[in-house]
């Protein structure tokens, strides 16, 4: 490795981390404004023009807040937990390509940190260790609410990881590669969201559960557990949890965009590869809006129903989607895939309705 390459890596990583952190800050603003618009309110509009400085005001407030550690908490882990939560949230974007190769100052630079041949698996593994922060925070707080939040999130994340992983498999089959750039290039003709629409929806739901976002925000569940795993946290430690959640939202949106919505691809991308980050930004923007929209409009699913949905509906559905993809590829009849998968999706919806109706008839 020559030193220039190392410098390139360092600079790219720094830029990405800074972008993620700014993105997190402005995502909070975006969410608050978006929610407010949906709820016929105004939202934050005092700090700076149209409230644009609100994230900074929030940050200043949180930094100066008192840090409170409960007397009975397990100190070391209590302090480590927020940090453990943030790191995977940032790490997970390492394999996401933000554009093709551009020439900067005579040097060919790939827009993206690492383009490894197991990019998708890397995402899986980082996502799977992200649960530790939440679990440890819940346990270390030595509080019943926090504990229940931690337990819930463990169970939830393990359950939804399966659907998540199987959706990954579907994409891998379609792209015939685990390398993220190749997945993007495989969507040159048709985005996977159109080739495999149900897979995209399942993936979206599974990521919502992984992110602990409404309607799957069990571990936090303000109304039941008052704040769940982070109930004992205050000040900057709480801000770190917040940061992890929102950074993860950005990261996961980037992953969704890459896997299903053509990644950095868009019009004129082949002639102007520099447009890649812009397209990514637009796609992330829309996916984030979907998440905010979902949160604003749906009540929370009850915990046991959430598990039912994960194990009894999403898991078989995503498993069948893998089969459908494989069949389509084997027979070389790509048109079969969307058709069959939509059929499977309908079956799943019927199953949900049936179970609901059975419960209603039982009353």
């Amino acid at each position: 490795m020559d030193s220039a390459l190392i410098w390139e890596m360092v600079i790219k990583s720094l830029v990405l981390i800074l972008a993620l952190l700014t993105g997190f800050a402005y995502l909070t603003y975006y969410e608050r404004r978006g929610l407010a618009r949906i709820q016929s309110r105004v939202g934050p509009n005092r700090a700076g023009p149209a409230g644009l400085l609100q994230p900074i005001a929030d940050a200043v407030k949180l930094i100066f807040k008192e840090e409170f550690t409960p007397g009975q908490a397990y100190k070391v882990i209590f302090i480590l937990a927020p940090i453990i939560t943030v790191i995977p949230a940032i790490l997970i974007t390492a394999t996401v390509p933000w554009g093709g190769t551009v020439t900067i100052g005579g040097r060919e630079v790939m827009l993206g940190i690492a383009d490894i041949n197991i990019g998708v698996l890397y995402i899986m593994s980082v996502a799977s260790i992200a649960v530790y922060g939440v679990v440890l925070a819940g346990w270390a707080s030595n509080n019943k609410y926090a504990m229940m939040g931690g337990l819930r999130s463990t169970a939830q994340m393990i359950s939804y990881e399966l659907a998540l992983g199987l959706s990954f498999v579907g994409v891998i089959l379609l792209a015939n590669s685990m390398r993220m750039t190749e997945i993007v290039e495989a969507q040159r003709g048709l985005w996977f969201a159109f080739l495999q629409p149900v897979g995209a929806v399942v993936f979206f739901f599974a990521t919502l559960a992984e992110l602990n976002r409404g309607p799957f925000d069990m571990p936090e569940a303000e109304q039941e557990l008052s704040a769940g795993y982070n109930v004992e946290y205050s000040g900057m430690k709480f801000a770190l949890f917040f940061m992890a959640e929102y950074t993860k939202m950005v990261s996961i949106s980037a992953i969704i965009a890459t896997l299903f919505w053509g990644g950095y691809r868009g019009p004129f991308i082949d002639t102007m590869p520099g447009l890649g980050p812009l397209y990514m930004f637009i796609k992330i923007f829309f996916i984030l809006f979907m998440m905010i929209w979902v949160r604003a409009s749906w009540p929370r699913i009850r915990y046991d129903r959430l598990m039912d949905l994960g194990w009894k509906i999403l898991l078989p559905l995503s498993l069948s989607l893998v089969f459908i993809n494989a069949t389509g590829i084997l027979l070389n009849q790509m048109w079969l895939i969307p058709l069959l998968s939509i059929g499977a999706g309908f079956l799943a919806i019927q199953a949900i309705n049936l179970s609901l109706r059975r419960k209603e008839n039982a009353r």
Partner: protein, 577 residues
């Protein structure tokens, strides 16, 4: 069956121990303490008075007596039956009615707490509103609060010159609270907690394979986002399943009734606003009816119409708020509640225009109203009830009622059977959602409700969904009443006689009740002929509906407790009084 028929039948059944109450201005019967259980059983099983609405007590120190007062109703409608049990003031013991009317549970605890009547046979007779180390029983006439000045308002020291001294100046900090003997507040460990947890289920169960399961005791509250105030639920959980649950309240207790007994009659009018602060006009209505019954004063036609309009608008806005907050409780992030609140604001605009205040309206007076409808307000109400509110109610129905998550969270959950609803003295939407078409506006009409065409909203499944949906039904029925009322409202006086600060209230007792948005809101008044009520008791629906809360929640998940609580719709200002 006429009144006298009933009296003869009762006399035949109970030749001894049941005597008519013949004190001046009093009604009902006085039961001997040892006959009470028999009498109540007969009342429930033979005389069809299956609904015990209110249990309270009055202290008569001059006669050395404590009196427990019961109000019972038939759920098929009709007037109330009052019966009383008198007991010795020094050693007051009355058999508990909890086995016959389980709805007496919290009310008997309240009477024990505030008056010191010992209900023998009550399984869990702990203080309910006050804390366990409290000295004395504050509703007794000889109990004096900290910073006590005089028995009755207006206090001589302040009136008419409006002079006052700060209470702290007279009484330094710490010297104004009485504690029981040998009590050190610094070292006090609340033994009530043990009693509370002891009243819950066992901590451990053993299943068939001999595996021991440890149960978790969780306190939801007092500080908790979805208890709608400072309210606490002590629950034992098996995993996330509720094994047993006990509500703990009183954190907002201010001894409303004692303050009410110091106040003059009119001073209580704004004070009732603070009970259920979401529906102050209904509270005014109930209190005004109780006092008007005592005075025997008529209310002018126009005033009655305005009262009905205001009360129904109150119901509409309360139910809007209840639905919105209920949706919030099951985890919809504020969107439904803010849309509901948007409509509620429009109703509050009307309140502000008419009464001058959005929440603490203080609008009704004995024999009329504080002021007439201002110009343009009727038009505003008309716009609301003929256009906006029906449209928005349908819109909410369309958006919310068929939502799959809402249905899966609520349908079949938190079941309260018809029998249980009556047994636990549930009132209002909670009772009607369990299939009892009991609405005081129909069952025992007051004011001018007999003139309007409307249906009593009733649903039969008794689950959370029905308790949610019945509120939409009730909004629609209220809008029907409102539409008729604004069409029919006549011109004329709004007050009988001159408005006065001090009323002449003859001796006697009265029980005024209205169908408040949360259920039967009753005011029990005893007058001794002076300018202040001798006894002022509020039958608070939020408080009594909570009796059924524990049974409803058994076997549900933690998340459902919040939904059940939201579906009961309590306001802590009224629960704790």
């Amino acid at each position: 069956m006429t009144e006298s028929d009933f009296a003869t039948r009762l006399n035949d059944r109970f030749p001894e121990g049941v005597t008519a109450d013949e004190r001046e201005g009093y009604q009902g019967y006085i039961i001997a303490a040892d006959k009470l259980i028999e009498f109540a059983t007969a009342l429930r099983d033979e005389f069809e008075f299956d609904y015990l609405s209110s249990v309270t007590g009055v202290d008569y120190p001059d006669e050395g007596k404590l009196e427990a007062v019961y109000h019972a109703y038939k759920t098929i409608g009709g007037a109330e039956l009052v019966f009383k049990v008198q007991t010795d003031r020094e050693n007051p013991e009355i058999p508990s009615l909890i086995d016959i009317y389980p709805g007496a549970d919290f009310q008997e605890r309240e009477a024990w707490d505030l008056l010191g009547i010992k209900f023998t046979g009550h399984p869990d007779l702990r203080r309910i509103l006050l804390w366990e180390g409290f000295e004395g029983h504050p509703l007794r006439k000889d109990w004096q609060e900290a910073y006590y000045e005089a028995d009755k308002k207006p206090f001589k020291s302040r009136w008419p010159k409006a002079e006052y001294t700060r209470a702290e100046a007279k009484n330094p900090y710490g010297a104004n609270v009485k504690y029981p003997d040998k009590f050190d507040p610094e070292k006090w460990v609340p033994e009530g907690e043990d009693a509370l947890y002891g009243s819950l289920a066992k901590y451990e169960t053993t299943d068939k394979d001999g595996l021991k399961t440890d149960h978790l005791t969780v306190n939801l509250g007092p500080q908790h986002p979805s208890t709608h105030g400072v309210f606490r639920i002590a629950a034992t959980l098996d995993g996330e399943k509720i094994m047993n649950l006990n509500p703990v309240m009183g954190y907002l207790h201010r001894n409303h009734e004692k303050i009410g007994e110091r106040n003059t009659y009119l001073q209580n009018m704004p004070f009732t606003d603070r009970l259920d602060y979401l529906s102050s006009l209904s509270n005014n209505f109930g209190y005004a009816i109780a006092v008007e019954k005592l005075i025997g004063i008529e209310v002018p036609e126009r005033a009655e119409y305005i009262r009905v309009i205001m009360a129904e608008l109150t119901r509409v806005q309360n139910h809007l708020f209840a639905i919105g907050m209920f949706l919030n409780d099951i985890g919809a992030f504020f969107t439904p509640s803010l849309y509901a609140i948007e409509e509620r604001e429009l109703v509050l605009d009307v309140f502000e225009m008419v009464t001058g205040s959005r929440m603490m309206c203080n609008y009704l007076r004995f024999g009329g109203l504080a002021r007439d409808l201002p110009d343009g307000s009727l038009q505003k109400i008309r716009d609301l009830v003929f256009d906006r509110l029906p449209r928005k109610t349908d819109e909410m129905d369309r958006f919310l009622s068929e939502n799959e998550i809402l249905r899966s969270r609520t349908v079949g959950q938190g079941y309260l059977s018809t029998e249980d609803a009556i047994k636990y003295s549930a009132a209002g939407p909670v009772l009607r959602a369990s299939g009892v078409p009991y609405d005081i506006r129909r069952a025992d009409p007051y004011s001018i409700y007999d003139r309007f065409k409307f249906d009593v909203a009733v649903r039969y499944n008794g689950d959370i969904y029905d308790r949610y949906y019945i509120r939409l039904d009730e909004i629609r029925e209220s809008i029907k009443i409102l539409q008729q009322a604004v069409e029919q409202i006549p011109e004329g006086e709004i007050q009988t006689g001159k408005p006065r600060y001090q009323m002449k209230v003859p001796k006697g007792e009265s029980y005024g009740r209205v169908e408040g948005p949360k259920g039967e809101l009753g005011f029990y008044l005893v007058s001794d002929g002076t300018g202040n009520p001798y006894r002022y008791h509020v039958r608070a629906p939020s408080f009594i509906n909570l009796t059924a809360f524990g049974p409803m929640c058994k076997g549900l998940k933690v998340a459902d407790v919040v939904a059940v609580l939201g579906s009961i719709d309590i306001v802590l200002g009224e629960t704790d009084r």
